[in-house]
């Protein structure tokens, strides 16, 4: 059963990726360029595990008969450290997707979302949400300017009406509305 990947579904999550790998029987090389970079993931896990071990040991461990606050986190952190350590050695590089231009754009989009959250606190909902929608529609959606601006305008105003007006969510004071009221 040949499954040609060009039409074989958008990839969604490692679960399906596993399935599709099974389906396709082959998978375009998805290795990181310089061999060992994939070990960063398990190393991060290991680092978190070790620092949690230290942190948990700092909370009283107690004993099995009278467990202290740190005992359970300590047990869990042991599991995390153990699995992390094994993964550093045995992990399969093919699990790691290559970093592409698309990845960089998503990372940029995340930064954009961060700016949105910060701006939301400072100047309210309308302007930041308009700009955020515009960025996402234009850059990721690849919409034409006309569509992007129209949708962003409709989206930000619509969402404001839904959340702030209809549901009564107290958004931070909106700089645009303050201006318009003089």
């Amino acid at each position: 059963m040949a499954v040609d990947r060009s039409s074989a579904a958008p990839e969604r999550g490692a679960a399906e990726r596993g399935l599709e790998r099974g389906l396709a029987g082959h998978r375009p090389a998805g290795r990181w360029p310089r061999g060992q970079l994939h070990r960063i993931g398990p190393l991060v896990v290991l680092g978190v595990g070790v620092s949690a071990l230290v942190g948990a040991a700092g909370l009283a461990l107690g004993e099995l008969t009278a467990p202290g606050a740190g005992l359970w986190p300590f047990i869990v952190a042991l599991l995390l450290t153990g699995t992390g350590a094994v993964l550093v050695v045995v992990d399969d590089p093919a699990d790691y997707e290559p970093w592409t231009r698309g990845t960089a754009r998503i990372a940029g989009g995340l930064v954009g979302l961060g700016v949105f959250v910060a701006a939301f606190g400072a100047v309210g909902f309308l302007l930041p949400s308009f700009l955020m929608l515009l960025l996402w529609l234009r850059v990721f959606g690849g919409e034409r300017w006309r569509w992007a601006i129209g949708l962003a305008l409709a989206g930000s105003v619509g969402m404001y009406l839904l959340f702030a007006t209809a549901l009564g969510v107290p958004f931070p004071a909106d700089v645009l509305l303050i201006f318009s009221r003089g």
């Binding site: 579904a9 490692a14 896990v45 978190v48 699995t83 992990d91 399969d92 989206g155 958004f171």
Partner: protein, 529 residues
Amino acid sequence: MDLLDGISQGFAVALDPINILYVFLGVLIGTVIGVLPGLGPTATIALLLPLTYEIEPSSAVILLAGIYYGSMYGGTITSVLLRLPGEAASVVTTFDGYQMAKQGRAGPALGIAAIGSFAGGILSVIGLILLAPPLAKLAVSFGPPEYVALAGLGILLVTYLGTGSALKSLSMAALGLLLSTVGQDPIAGTTRFTFGQVALYDGLDFVAVAMGLFGVGEILYNLENTEKVRAIKGKIANIWPSGKDLRDSSGAIVRGSVLGFLIGVLPGGGGVVSSLASYALEKRRAKDPSRFGKGAIEGVAGPETANNASSTSAFVPLLTLGIPANVVMALIFGALLIQGITPGPRLIQEHPDVFWGVIASMFIGNLMLLALNIPLVGVFVQILRVRAGILAAFALLITMAGVFSINNDITDMWVVLGFGALGWLMKKTGFEPGPLVLAFVLGPILERAFRQSMLLSGGDLGIFVSRPLSGGIVAAMALIIVFSAVASRRRRRMLGRVTAPVTDTADGDDPAPDPAARAASRGSTSGES
């Protein structure tokens, strides 16, 4: 007698006009997101969690459940027509469903899938009604050691039955357990891992974590990976399967219902595993297995029935034991906790409206789905025209506004954003967020039960094996570990023999001609039984 009382009370709840509206909304949203490749049931339910603060507990669960089983229907449509599985459980349907569509039999494929899903859903609801109350009665006698064993089993099965690396899943489950310890110690009240932040004293907010990992994380990941959907051509005619089609698939539907129900009840079961297992079963039973993959109608009917049956029966462990069987159940568990209801053995007694109302709503929801799907398939397909970029932009904005509305606190937005970035990175690096969230939900239960057990036994770990029930569960866990170790070893040895030049990954992706059976065997600790 109790049963009839319960059912009639359930219908009284479910037939309330407001709840009918919620069922309808649920199955409609479910179908739509099942069709859309960029948004799955987990992401949608995660994104809608803030909504559940506003509505009655029974309505909230009715809505979320409707989204879950509705998405199972919706996922079929694109699998058959475009070989695009809208959600994971529909991958199997692409094998034969798409072939049927290519032979001009898209109509019957969709029709039989809808009928099978309906049958599976209804039979599974009946099973749920019969099984849940006695199970809940039994569970009332459970002590802390049993809960430790059950929660452990749930986490173990989720890590093993996932399609990713079991070790990585286990590691993420450990991380989830660790994150759940942030905040106050449940017994002594000491603060842990709060780094002096008052906002963390109550622990990380489940909703924010789930919305970040599943909502934002999944949107970002899919945006990077979704390919452009091709234009949809052709009309779908003759949606009703012929008499012969029905005769051919009736056996598969019955077997699929039973199999799906059983797998769904097991912790860790759910859509993907049950549909794969059903496909493998049908293929093994068939007189002429070579028809499979070339448009065999049983290959559509069985898995579709099974995945819908399992998505219903997955409610059994949640509503009776308080153990979520899969990630979607973990989210519904969280939604109930938000409402101040702890799912568990006492749920049926203390909140009969929730328990029976949800069950009755499933009858109604499945009827609605059948009615929606058969005439409206063409309309749903048009939804695919919505471009992924537009969908993502709006979904993200709604998420951000939604999470703010929970506590009117900007900190929550940062938590969502942080976990969104984490979820995206995890998916890119093959770490599954599912076990993390499941463990995060189970963590407090597990810790409390573990510490109580230790107090009970005077620090003797033997308590987990010496009591018959918990001992039995622990034995089952040991069996699963041994079985899967042996199975993976055998698989590797077999691969060693067959391996063609095209070996690519170390975990054994061979170019074998029978991917379904292999994929199934990969996650079949429960599937083969």
